[in-house]
Amino acid sequence: MSAAAASPTSFASRRKRLAEVSSRHRSWSIVVGIAIVGTVLPILAAIPPFTLATPTNAWMDGFTNAGVFVLLAIGLNLVVGVAGLLDLGYAAFFAIGAYTYSYVASPFGNSILGIKFVEVVSPDIAGLVFWPMLLVGALVAALFGILLGAPTLRLRGDYLAIVTLGFGEIVPIVFLNADAVTNGTNGVGGLARPALPIIGSFSALNPWPYYVSMLVVVAVVMMLAYRLVESRLGRAWEAIREDELAAAASGINTVTAKLLAFALGASTAGIAGVFNASKLVTVSPDQFTFIVSFTVLAMVVLGGMGNFWGVAVGAFVIYTINNVLLKVLNQFFDQVSFPILKDIDFIQLQFLLYGLALVAMMLWRPEGLFPNSRRQRELHTAMTEPGEDELVTAEATSEEGQR
């Protein structure tokens, strides 16, 4: 780490000290960090420029939605960023988490399980099941992560990618066509909203309980993710990503480690699924298309693979571009009466702008917004000695690392 600091400006050194402190007191720094972000966002949403765009409540709702993607990005980062397994079907686990919640928390789901629960208790009670269901959703998704991961583990690199992509397609098709147990294309509605003992069932109109719960869930998940990555297992994953043969020669059962990466990544998606389902109070197969998998992958790559704070920021940025910025461009230029731009229908240009944004961001920062320290080191070597050979080795290493 010491070698990397080539130009010790005060900013760089301060940043480095911050990084050191945060890595020594990881859990506290996460709690503090999330608390700061969690306080700043509502304040921003409550002051003029932002309130005038959309009401504070809508902002809060948007932040909570973004939180779902932050969770997904953290989970996928475990698989892609840390363990180096390219997963293109991550939405499958998101779906599994959501449907898991629907079985316990909806009348239709209850009838499939053969129990009577949601219909007979009050919403304030039924909603309590949300909290344990976060865990159950995680476990069920992890189980499916193992089930779907098992046949793929002999595969290398992009073969793995296509198989995961296949599962990402198969799972929604199963939910779509297995009418008897999933209500098919109609999806499952009438899910119980989460509830807490004193405040009762959450309301669609008050975004605060969802927002605060989301902050807590993100903080806990991120804390656990960091603890995991800094453990023996996390080291094993990084070793596999760098050099699978050497990892095996160090005694790591690469198969089990990869399977665990799949399972744990999936469990995070399961949590996100439960949360999202409890917020939308409906699950249907069209919530879990390939585009979700891809969006989350873009968030991870853009944020900086391997860095959990980075991918969280990546998730937030892409969500904001895609679901907020691109949606308000029309009104924006209408209002400023900008000569030519106001006549353009930006809603029709969303794809184009989003595509351009992705290409531009990747060209501008190929290693992501906040690459983790290892990858930065990698890049640093390439930059200080920009000889042809050095570039080639950097590339070779990074290729090696991805597989």
Binding site: P49, N186, G189, G190, A204, L205, V313, I321, L325
Partner: protein, 407 residues
């Protein structure tokens, strides 16, 4: 640092957007929200509905009030996104000036929006939802969990369980068809109407000789159609809309030995004449002859021709499949606003109450409409149309055949 830059961009956007708020000239501002999937392929069907609604709102004036519209597109990366739909509805209910919403378009979006608008008591009128589960029975009640008896969601389209059987009856009784092969697009509307059609068809003594599904995005139907051809049906029923394959199926029937067979469908393929871009007749071309479809409206509405002309003058294109429904929804909301204004202050609750009053009859471009106890249209007249390839200057058009009241 990047976040800061994005934040700055956001702030700039927000400042500008903000300028649209506030009241104008002492009038009370009322906002009508429009919530549709408006980008990607969804635009093909939802765009006309939006344009129809905007046309109705544009012409409307009410002394003392300024009517504004706010349009939300909940298509993300090309297809309707429930999470975005829910966020848009949250945004709409959070704005106190919003008194009614035209939308949504897809059932899966309705399922996430209705619980929110129901809790807020905000009137929603969908021009296109036909899934019975959105209003009726336990499923409907579950969506209105917070206020089950305070209906806030109405729709001008007749549900699948009426339209599907209507087409079946027409096929058996009027066209004297015996056997049918059914294909649907696996979406909520397509599968729903196909199921309802199949049930009624069998009940009326017809036989269903094939039932297949092909998800949207399918371009090759030859395998399914070749299979159908072997069963020698009298007709093919398509459950779905043109953009998910209605025209393609018809076009490929030629290649697969099903030339000239009768082709039945719901209102999903009733979308303009042979010169409408992307419409059923223009895609199927000459093969469109001998096609039949239903529309959940009376045929002979006095204002209809007038509306079509006005629409064409405004947008320079012919009516799309849901233009009239979008227009009708806006008409209903506007009329409810008028009623509320006549009674007192126009509040969200007053508009909702006015619109869902089962005694009120709304004069719309679809004919007189009123709503039953769950918010479904009581207008249960289904009109049947068939394609006449000599109409519309030889390009082909849907010609009214007959209508039945399914009350």
């Amino acid at each position: 640092m990047k976040l800061a830059r994005v934040g700055a961009a956001l702030a700039a956007a927000a400042i500008v957007v903000s300028a649209c708020g506030g009241s104008s000239g002492g009038n009370k501002v009322l906002t009508i929200g429009i919530s549709f999937p408006l980008s990607g392929s969804s635009l093909a069907s939802a765009g006309p509905a939006r344009d129809g609604a905007l046309l109705a709102i544009k012409d409307f004036t009410l002394a003392g009030y300024t009517i504004k519209t706010t349009i939300f597109d909940h298509a993300v990366n090309g297809s309707h996104d429930p999470q975005q739909g829910s966020k848009d509805m949250t945004t709409l209910v959070a704005d106190p000036t919003v008194v009614g919403v035209v939308g949504p378009f897809n059932s899966s979006i309705a399922k996430v929006q209705i619980p929110i608008s129901n809790e807020a008591g905000l009137l929603q009128c969908s021009p296109a939802n036909t899934n019975p589960d959105l209003t009726k029975g336990d499923a409907g009640k579950q969506l209105r969990a917070k206020a089950p008896d305070k209906i806030n969601y109405v729709r001008v389209a007749t549900t699948d369980d009426i339209q599907g059987p209507a087409v079946a009856t027409y096929g058996i009784k009027t066209l004297n068809l015996k056997s049918v092969a059914i294909i649907d697009d696996t979406e909520t509307y397509g599968k729903g109407i196909a199921d309802a059609f199949a049930a009624e068809w069998t009940k009326l003594g017809g036989t269903v000789v094939g039932r297949e599904g092909a998800p949207k995005g399918t371009t090759d139907y030859t395998a399914i159609l070749t299979k159908f051809a072997a069963a020698k049906p009298d007709a093919v029923f398509y459950g779905g809309v043109t953009s998910t394959g209605g025209g393609l199926v018809r076009k490929q029937m030629e290649q697969s030995g099903l030339t000239g067979l009768a082709y039945l469908g719901g209102d999903g393929i009733q979308d303009g004449n042979g010169s409408t871009d992307g419409g059923y007749i223009s895609i199927a071309g000459a093969a469109a002859a001998n096609s039949f479809s239903s529309v959940a409206a009376i045929h002979d509405i006095p204002g209809a021709a007038d509306f079509a002309a006005k629409y064409k003058a405004e947008y320079k294109v012919d009516l799309g499949s849901y233009s009239a429904s979008g227009y009708a929804c806006a008409q209903i909301i506007l009329q409810a606003i008028k009623t509320a204004a006549a009674k007192g202050d126009v509040t969200r609750e007053a508009v909702r109450a006015a619109a869902t009053d089962t005694a009120t009859k709304f004069d719309t471009v679809l004919g007189p409409v009123s709503f039953d106890a769950v918010g479904d249209t009581s207008q249960k007249i289904i009109s049947m149309y068939k394609v006449d390839m000599t109409a519309a200057g030889g390009k082909g058009d849907w010609i009214f055949d007959y209508q039945v009241d399914y009350k």
